[in-house]
Amino acid sequence: MHFDMAITGFVAIYIFMLAAFGGWVIIGNVPAILHTPLMSGSNFVHGIVVIGGIMALLNASTPTQQVIGFFAVLLGAGNAAGGYAVTDRMLAMFKASGHKPVHVIHAKRPAKKS
């Protein structure tokens, strides 16, 4: 059995088209009150680039590739972890009336996400 994928030509364009359409529709419904968290949330989602960095680095065979690959993982990990941290913090602040306002100090929480 083969589980590796070959995405070529039109298949790639179909994936891009459907994903773009999905993104457009999903975001179209977001109220203005959430625009800042949303921007940072979508910023977090493209942090998935870190796994591309990991794959590139694992396949690196020269020092140049290793150095650039190292930076790819470093930057990608920063994108993912930072994007998550700020988005989660912002969204935790939105409370409805009747909720007692709790000030969660997330800074004290141990970092467990990578």
Binding site: M1, H2, F3, D4, A6, A12, I15, F16, A19, A20, G22, G23, I26, G28, V30, P31, A32, I33, L34, T36, P37, L38, M39, S40, G41, V45, H46, G47, I48, V49, V50, G52, G53, I54, A56, L57, L58, S61, T64, I68, G69, F70, F71, V73, L74, G78, N79, A80, A81, Y84, A85, V86, D88, R89, K95, A96, H103, H106, K113, S114
Partner: protein, 482 residues
């Protein structure tokens, strides 16, 4: 055998991750479900990152001798990058959020550019189509990285003024053209197998160098007020670059996540530009800020100052109050005091609502976040379209630290730079109090007709100090009555 299993597991993990990203973003469309939305997306990320290490079983033959070194490097990079960004993200002040989004976005763009670079330096692409996509991923990623860094520097006020020089657009165009020509040259070399004039590695370095330079040059002349739109554009650009990289390394999770963000970022950019009444190309190429220096006509009437305590007491005896906060409130760090005052009014039976202009704050939606941080429930917060008709039936509009977004000139004065921008109808309320540091103009340098209206009264002073006085005055009333 191992490689088949590895493909099966990583394929499944990526599929789940791609689903969780879209489901998470979907959940972010309401404040009720949004916190769980980001968590769902977070699980997707953890899963995909963990599974990506199974690629140790599928590496190319050329990389096999370096596998342990590469694995160690990957773990170290992951740990350093994630923990540094996590720590900063957890401790940064909410007012600095736009800068943080800019810098995280720059990191993502850099990663996308670097992945393209590894593929190019290793000459790993197959066929011209893949090479072109790789070059595009590298180009967009690199522009997004250097541009985001400049955007961060501007928002963080490391760079204070827009940098403009004569012939700037021409220089930018030439630099961009050089990048494109080099990219075309690389494709030409790959197609014909001709010997390059310089070693291939040098050509690639110059390609990335000029591209990074273009990102810097393109962002330098844009004013600080427009940075949110610029960040949003770069956010979409990074998404696009990630999507292209996903195609190059045959990783559908990257393709989907990248393209979803590309589309979402584009939509968000258009929404923001619309709220500012500007087109995206106007933001990028118009050098906004220069136009506002022209002379203003003399204002009719005069500004009428009142004491903070009097204004506070007037609101205590009003039936309804709408508060219009602007970035000045956040600068004075007065959000919590404001909410304390609101609670006092509410307990006296006054109906209080917040009206948020789409561009209040440094970034669309930032004022909502700042109010939420101070504990204001989101059902008190209303957006422009929902609330603008209510002003006519409201006793008091309280403007704190906002200026241009309540300037009626946007409706009437065709010569005004903000003409046509949707504004909050504070002037339609029966009475309007404006809290302001002193007499002066707003961010765009325009006189505000609202301040000269008959039913407008000015409360001069620092927002925090003014609110303290208002709170004391209203509390004093309660004590006197008891």
């Amino acid at each position: 055998m191992e490689s088949t299993i590895a493909h099966l597991v990583t394929g499944t993990a990526d599929l789940i991750a791609a689903f969780l990203f879209m489901y998470g973003l979907k959940r972010m469309s309401s404040p009720v479900s949004a916190p769980s939305g980001i968590r769902v997306a977070g699980y997707g990320m953890l899963l995909a990152v963990a599974a990506s290490f199974l690629n140790v079983f599928t590496v190319d033959a050329a990389a096999r001798p370096h596998l342990w070194v590469n694995l160690g490097l990957a773990l170290v990079a992951l740990l350093i990058g994630a923990s540094a960004a996590w720590g900063k993200g957890r401790s940064v002040a909410m007012t600095e959020m736009p800068q943080m989004v800019a810098i995280y976005n720059g990191l993502g763009g850099g990663a996308a550019g670097a992945i393209a670079a590894v593929e190019l330096f290793g000459n790993k692409t197959h066929g011209v189509g893949q090479l072109v996509v790789t070059l595009l991923g590298g180009l967009i990623g690199a522009i997004s990285m250097s541009g985001s860094v400049i955007a961060w520097a501007k928002l963080d006020e490391v760079l204070k003024k827009p940098m403009r020089f004569p012939g700037q657009r021409l220089v930018n165009a030439v630099v961009f053209l050089v990048s494109l020509v080099l990219g075309g040259y690389i494709v030409f070399l790959a197609r014909t197998g001709a010997t390059p004039l310089l070693p291939m590695a040098s050509v690639l370095w110059i390609f990335f160098g000029t591209t990074l330079l273009f990102g810097i040059l393109m962002t330098l002349p844009i004013g600080g007020a427009d940075m949110p739109v610029v960040i949003s554009i770069y956010n979409a650009a990074t998404g696009l670059a990630v999507g292209f990289d996903g195609y190059v390394i045959q990783e559908p999770a990257l393709m989907i996540a990248g393209m979803v963000v590309g589309a979402a970022g584009t939509l968000l950019t258009l929404l923001m530009a619309k709220a500012m009444n500007r087109s995206v190309s106007n933001v990028l190429f118009s050098n906004f800020g220069d136009v506002s220096k022209k002379k203003q006509g003399k204002m009719k009437g005069e500004e009428k100052p009142v004491e903070a305590s009097d204004a506070g007491i007037a609101m205590r005896y009003a039936k309804s109050v709408i508060i219009i906060p602007g970035y000045g409130l956040a600068v004075a760090q007065a959000q919590e005091k404001l909410y304390e005052f609101v609670k006092l009014l509410q307990s006296a039976g006054v109906s209080v609502k917040f009206a948020i202009h789409p561009v209040a704050g440094r970034m669309p939606g930032q004022m909502d976040v700042l109010l939420a941080e101070a504990g204001v429930p989101y059902d008190l917060i209303h957006q422009l379209d929902e609330i603008n008709d209510d002003f006519a039936t409201t006793d008091v509009a309280l403007v704190i630290g906002a200026n241009d977004v309540v300037n009626p000139a946007a409706r009437t004065d065709k010569s005004s730079p903000i003409y046509g921008m949707p504004i909050l109808n504070a002037d339609k309320a029966k009475k309007c109090y404006c809290v302001k540091r002193g007499q002066g103009k707003g961010y765009s340098g325009i006189e505000n007709e609202l301040f000269y209206e008959d039913n407008t009264f000015m409360v001069y002073g620092d927002a925090q100090a003014v609110l303290v006085k208002m709170i004391e005055a209203v509390r004093g009333l309660g004590a006197a009555a008891a």
